[in-house]
C-alpha cells in the first residue's frame, strides 16, 4: 500500500512500567522444569492501566515531534486490554495530552497487531490530508492465565508514533506497507472471560509464521527489495525464539534481527510489541537505514512496513527517554506481589 | 459592649453510646445546661455539629433539637465549621447576645460517630478538607496532619518522643475526669509503638472516635442577674479567623495563621496577654497540633512549643495547665461538640468543680477550637467574675 503522498514519523515514544517478574520466579511457583521462553517481563503497578501507559508514550512522542498537542487531528489506539469494555481509551488520552476536543479518536482491536493497525489508519489520514498530525498508539496490560505457557510472557507496555507528511522534520518515512489478513482463530477471548484461549502449537506455523512470512515476502516483492537491502528487521515478539526464527526463515541475519528484540527482558507487550521493537531500533539507527517492521495479530494478520530513517533522528532521538532508559528502570517483584498488582487478589 | 456570661453547663459522658441517638444525647446535655442555668426557655438555640448529614443522614438540627426540647418557636440553626463548630457556635452566641438582640442563647454541640464503619467516618472527617483537590488524592485527615508533623520534626530537629508526651499527660488528666472517654494510663513507649495510621502519626496520637454532647447557656449580664447566679463566667474575648483552607497552599506551613489572628484579637478584646492565662484548652486532635498551638497562641516561640511538653509545663502541676480533663485525646472528640466540651472543662476549673484535677484558683481560661488543619480557628477567652 503506497499512499499518494509520502508519510513520515514526526515523533515516537514508549513507556514500560518499572516492575519486573523473572520467568524463573513464575516457574518456581508451578514447579515447571525446562527452558523458559524469556528471562523476565514487565508488570504494571496498581495505579497503571492501558490509558496511563498510552498517555506517557504519547507525551514522549510529542516531545520528539515538537508540536502543539492541539494540532493532533486523530488518535488511533490499538489494545486488547481496555480499561472500559465500552468507552474509548483514546478520548482519555486525547484529554490528558491536550488534543481534545477537535480530534478524531477511537480504539482499535486486532490482538497484538492493533498497534500497527493504528499506524495504517494514521498514515491514511495524514496522506489524504484529512489531518496534519495523527497519533498511533499500541498498548496492552496483557493478562496471563496462571500456570499457562503465556503467563511467562504476557507483559505490559505502550508505544506511540506521530505521523505527518514526510519533511525535514520527520525522523523516518514510510516507503510502503502491506496488510495480510485471514480468519485464523489461533488465540481469542470470548466476552466475559478474563483470560484468552489459545490453540497451542497451532499458533506457530499456520498463524505467526505464515502471516509474517506472507506479508513480508509480498511487501518485499512489491518493492523489489531483498533482506540485504534492510539494516534492521523488527518482528512481533511473543517470546525470544519466534522473531529470530521467522527472521532467519525470511533470509535475514541475526545482527539485523537482534537489535529490535526487547521481549526477552520485558515480555510480550501485545499491541505495543513490534512498535516497541521499532522504537528500540530508532533509538540507535542512523540516517538512510532501511527497517522492515512486521507485526502479527492473532485472529489473524500481519502488517508489514518498509521504513527509511532520515537525518532528523539525530537531534530528535534524545528529546525523550529511550527504550533502554525504561528497561534500566526496574524493580523485581515476587509472585504474590504480581498476583496483587494484576488484580487477582483484591479486597 | 457588655460581654455575655455563661450561666449554665451541661454534658454527657463521651464514649460509644450504642443506646443513645444523636437527638437523645443533645437533649441530655441541653436539659442539664438549662437546669444548671435555672432557666426553662431561651431566645435562640445554636446546635454545633459537623457530620450529621454524612453519618446520620440528618440535617435541620436546629428545628429537630428545638422540637425535642419542647421549645418550639425558638429560632434555631446548625452551626458548622468542621471541627471548630463548637468554638464557632460559642462565638455566634457571643455575637447574638452582645448585640443585644437575644438575652439568652442555648449552645448545644453534639456528634454521633459510632453508628458507621471507621472507613465511612474517616471519609466524613475528610470533608473538612478540599474534596476535589485534596481528598481525591487519598490524603486522609490524619495524613494531612502527618505532613505537618514531619515538617515540624525535620525543621526544628525535634525528637518525636517530646511530642508523644502530650497524649501521655492527657491520659493522666483523664483518669480523674468522670466524663472522659479514655481512662487509662499510657507511656511514651505505648504511644510510639501503637499502630501507625499515617506515618509519622501513631494511633495513640490521634483523638478517638466517640459520641457525646455538651451545652452552655450564654446570657447577657442582665438576664444572668435574673437567674440569680453568683459566679459568672464572662466571655471576655471571642474571635474567629480562617486561613487558606489547604495546608499545602500556605506560605508558612508551620504556623496556623488563623490561630495567631483569632488569639490576637481575643487577647485584645479581653485586655489580657498570654502570660495572664491560667488554664488552656488546645485542639489536640493530633499530638502535633499541641506544640504548634502553644506557639501560635503566644505561649512559646516558633519551634519551641515542644519544650513546654517535654518540661511538663503543660501538666496540671506546671505553669500552664493544658487540657486538664484530657483534651481531645483522652476526654474525647465528638467533633461538633468538642468546642463546647473545652468550655465545660475550663468552666469546671474556674468554678472550683474540677475535683482531683483542680488547679489552684484559676481566673482566665483560653479555648482554641480548630477546624480542618487550621482552616478555621476560634479562640474564646473565659474570665471568672
Amino acid at each position: 500500500m503506497k499512499p499518494l503522498r509520502e508519510v513520515g514519523i514526526a515523533g515516537y515514544g514508549v513507556y514500560i512500567p518499572m516492575y519486573r517478574i523473572k520467568a524463573k520466579e513464575i516457574a518456581r511457583v508451578w514447579k515447571r522444569a525446562g527452558k523458559l521462553p524469556i528471562e523476565e517481563k514487565s508488570v504494571v503497578g496498581l495505579d497503571e492501566d492501558s490509558a496511563t501507559m498510552a498517555v506517557e508514550a504519547a507525551l514522549n512522542a510529542l516531545k520528539r515531534a515538537r508540536i502543539d498537542p492541539s494540532s493532533i487531528g486523530a488518535i488511533r489506539l490499538g489494545t486488547e486490554s481496555k480499561p472500559y469494555a465500552v468507552k474509548p481509551t483514546a478520548t482519555i488520552v486525547a484529554e490528558a495530552i491536550g488534543a481534545s476536543p477537535k480530534v478524531a479518536a477511537a480504539d482499535l482491536e486486532f490482538a497484538c497487531k492493533a498497534g500497527t493497525e493504528a499506524m495504517e489508519s494514521c498514515i491514511a489520514l495524514v496522506a489524504s490530508s484529512m489531518v496534519r498530525y495523527a497519533l498511533a498508539i499500541g498498548v496492552d496490560t496483557a493478562q496471563g492465565r496462571p500456570r499457562d505457557e503465556l503467563e511467562y510472557t504476557a507483559g505490559c507496555g505502550a508505544a506511540a508514533y506521530i505521523f505527518s507528511l514526510k519533511s525535514s522534520e520527520t525522523l523516518a518515512y514510510i516507503e510502503a506497507s502491506l496488510s495480510y489478513a485471514t480468519d485464523t482463530p489461533d488465540f481469542w477471548r470470548r466476552p466475559g472471560e478474563i483470560y484468552p484461549q489459545h490453540a497451542q502449537r497451532f499458533t506457530g506455523a499456520p498463524a505467526y509464521f505464515h502471516h509474517i512470512i506472507s506479508a513480508a515476502k509480498m511487501l518485499m516483492d512489491e518493492l523489489g527489495l531483498k533482506p540485504s537491502d534492510f539494516k534492521y528487521a523488527v518482528f512481533h515478539q511473543p517470546n525470544l525464539k519466534f522473531p529470530i526464527s521467522v527472521g532467519l526463515k525470511l533470509g535475514f541475519k541475526k545482527e539485523q534481527i537482534l537489535p529490535g528484540i526487547v521481549a526477552n527482558i520485558i515480555g510480550n507487550t501485545y499491541a505495543a510489541s513490534s512498535l516497541m521493537g521499532l522504537a528500540s531500533v530508532l533509538d540507535k539507527a542512523t540516517s538512510g537505514d532501511r527497517i522492515l517492521l512486521v507485526s502479527y495479530g492473532s485472529g489473524a494478520g500481519s502488517d508489514a512496513f518498509s521504513i527509511v530513517v532520515q537525518d532528523a533522528i539525530e537531534e530528535k532521538r534524545n528529546l525523550a527517554p529511550l527504550v533502554s532508559d525504561y528497561i534500566n528502570r526496574r524493580k523485581y517483584i515476587n509472585y504474590s506481589t504480581y498476583l496483587y498488582f494484576r488484580g487477582k487478589i483484591n479486597m | 459592649m457588655e460581654k455575655p456570661v455563661i450561666i449554665g453547663i451541661g454534658y454527657t459522658r463521651i464514649g460509644e453510646h450504642w443506646e443513645k441517638s444523636l437527638r437523645e444525647l443533645a437533649v441530655e446535655a441541653a436539659l442539664m445546661a438549662l437546669d444548671n442555668a435555672g432557666v426553662n426557655r431561651v431566645d435562640a438555640i445554636y446546635v454545633s455539629n459537623m457530620m450529621s448529614g454524612a453519618l446520620q443522614e440528618q440535617e435541620h438540627l436546629g428545628s429537630l433539637i428545638a422540637t425535642y426540647l419542647g421549645l418550639k418557636g425558638t429560632p434555631a440553626c446548625k452551626i458548622e465549621a468542621a471541627c471548630a463548630s463548637g468554638g464557632m457556635a460559642i462565638h455566634q452566641a457571643f455575637l447574638a447576645v452582645a448585640s443585644g438582640y437575644y438575652d439568652t442563647v442555648l449552645v448545644v454541640g453534639v456528634e454521633k460517630m459510632t453508628d458507621r464503619l471507621t472507613s465511612e467516618v474517616t471519609f466524613a472527617l475528610a470533608m473538612a478538607e478540599d474534596r476535589e483537590y485534596v481528598v481525591s488524592t487519598g490524603a486522609t485527615f490524619v495524613g494531612l496532619n502527618a505532613l505537618l508533623y514531619r515538617l515540624y520534626l525535620t525543621k526544628f530537629n525535634v525528637d518525636q518522643k517530646s511530642i508523644a508526651k502530650f497524649p501521655v499527660i492527657a491520659h493522666e488528666n483523664a483518669l480523674n475526669a468522670p466524663h472522659a472517654q479514655l481512662k487509662r494510663k499510657i507511656s511514651v513507649e505505648d504511644v510510639l509503638s501503637s499502630p501507625i495510621i499515617a506515618d509519622p502519626i501513631h494511633l495513640f496520637e490521634c483523638a478517638p472516635i466517640g459520641d457525646g454532647a455538651a451545652a452552655l447557656v450564654i446570657a447577657s449580664p442582665k438576664a444572668a442577674k435574673e437567674s440569680q447566679k453568683d459566679t459568672y463566667i464572662e466571655l471576655a474575648g471571642s474571635a474567629a479567623a480562617t486561613d487558606i483552607m489547604s495546608l499545602h497552599e500556605r506560605l508558612d506551613l508551620l504556623t496556623l495563621f488563623a490561630s495567631v489572628k483569632a488569639s490576637q484579637k481575643a487577647y485584645k478584646m479581653a485586655k489580657v496577654k498570654p502570660s495572664d492565662i491560667d488554664i488552656l484548652e488546645v485542639h489536640d486532635a493530633f499530638s502535633i497540633l499541641a506544640p504548634i498551638a502553644l506557639e501560635d497562641l503566644g505561649f512559646a516561640k516558633k519551634g519551641e512549643g515542644w519544650k513546654m511538653i517535654e518540661n511538663m509545663d503543660v501538666s496540671l502541676s506546671g505553669n500552664l495547665p493544658t487540657n486538664t480533663m484530657g483534651g481531645l485525646k483522652a476526654r474525647g472528640h465528638p467533633v461538633g461538640a468538642t468546642g463546647i466540651y473545652q468550655a465545660v472543662d475550663a468552666i469546671l476549673q474556674l468554678k472550683g468543680e474540677a475535683g482531683k484535677n483542680q488547679v489552684d484558683n484559676p481566673t482566665l481560661a483560653l479555648l482554641q477550637s480548630t477546624g480542618g488543619v487550621g482552616g478555621t480557628v476560634v479562640v474564646n477567652i473565659l474570665k471568672k467574675r
Binding site: 490509558a51 507525551l59 | 487519598g138 514531619r150 515538617l151 499515617a198
Partner: protein, 134 residues
C-alpha cells in the same frame, strides 16, 4: 456515583493546569477566579511545570473508602519549579525511600474507581525523575 463532579475537573487534573496571579506573581493549583494570596482577580490559567521536589510527605496506612486496595501509599506536598504547591500521591517508589527534597516529575495515573462497575478517576501523581539523556 458522582460522574459530573469528576468530569468537570478533568482537564485541570489530567494536565496539571494551574492559576497564575498577574498581580503578585504567585502560582497555585487548581486555578480559580481570585488569587488566594493577594485577592486580585487578575488570574490566568497556565500549564504548570511538571517537575518539582518533595516538601513533606506522609505514608497512609489506614486508607479511606475507595483507596483500600492501595495502602500503604504516600501523599506529598510537591513544590513545582515555579513555586506552586500541589498535594499528590507519589508513585513508582517504595515508601521507605521517600525523602524530603526528593526530585520528582508528574505522571498520569489512576487514583481510584468510584466502584468496581463505576468510572475510573485519573489524575497526576509524582514519581522520582526518570534518568535519561534529555
Amino acid at each position: 456515583m458522582s460522574v459530573p463532579r469528576y468530569w468537570r475537573e478533568r482537564k485541570i487534573k489530567y494536565r496539571l493546569i494551574g492559576g497564575k496571579c498577574k498581580t503578585c506573581g504567585r502560582s497555585f493549583y487548581p486555578p480559580r477566579k481570585v488569587c488566594p494570596y493577594c485577592s486580585s482577580r487578575e488570574v490566568e490559567k497556565i500549564l504548570l511545570p511538571r517537575k518539582g521536589k518533595v516538601l513533606s510527605y506522609a505514608i497512609i496506612h489506614v486508607p479511606p473508602k475507595g483507596f483500600e486496595n492501595y495502602s500503604p501509599y504516600v501523599v506529598a506536598i510537591v513544590e513545582l519549579e515555579n513555586g506552586a504547591r500541589v498535594l499528590a500521591q507519589l508513585t513508582d517508589i517504595d515508601e521507605n525511600e521517600v525523602k524530603i527534597g526528593l526530585e520528582v516529575e508528574a505522571v498520569f495515573r489512576k487514583y481510584s474507581e468510584q466502584s468496581p462497575e463505576g468510572i475510573i478517576e485519573y489524575g497526576i501523581k509524582f514519581r522520582p525523575v526518570l534518568k535519561h539523556a534529555a
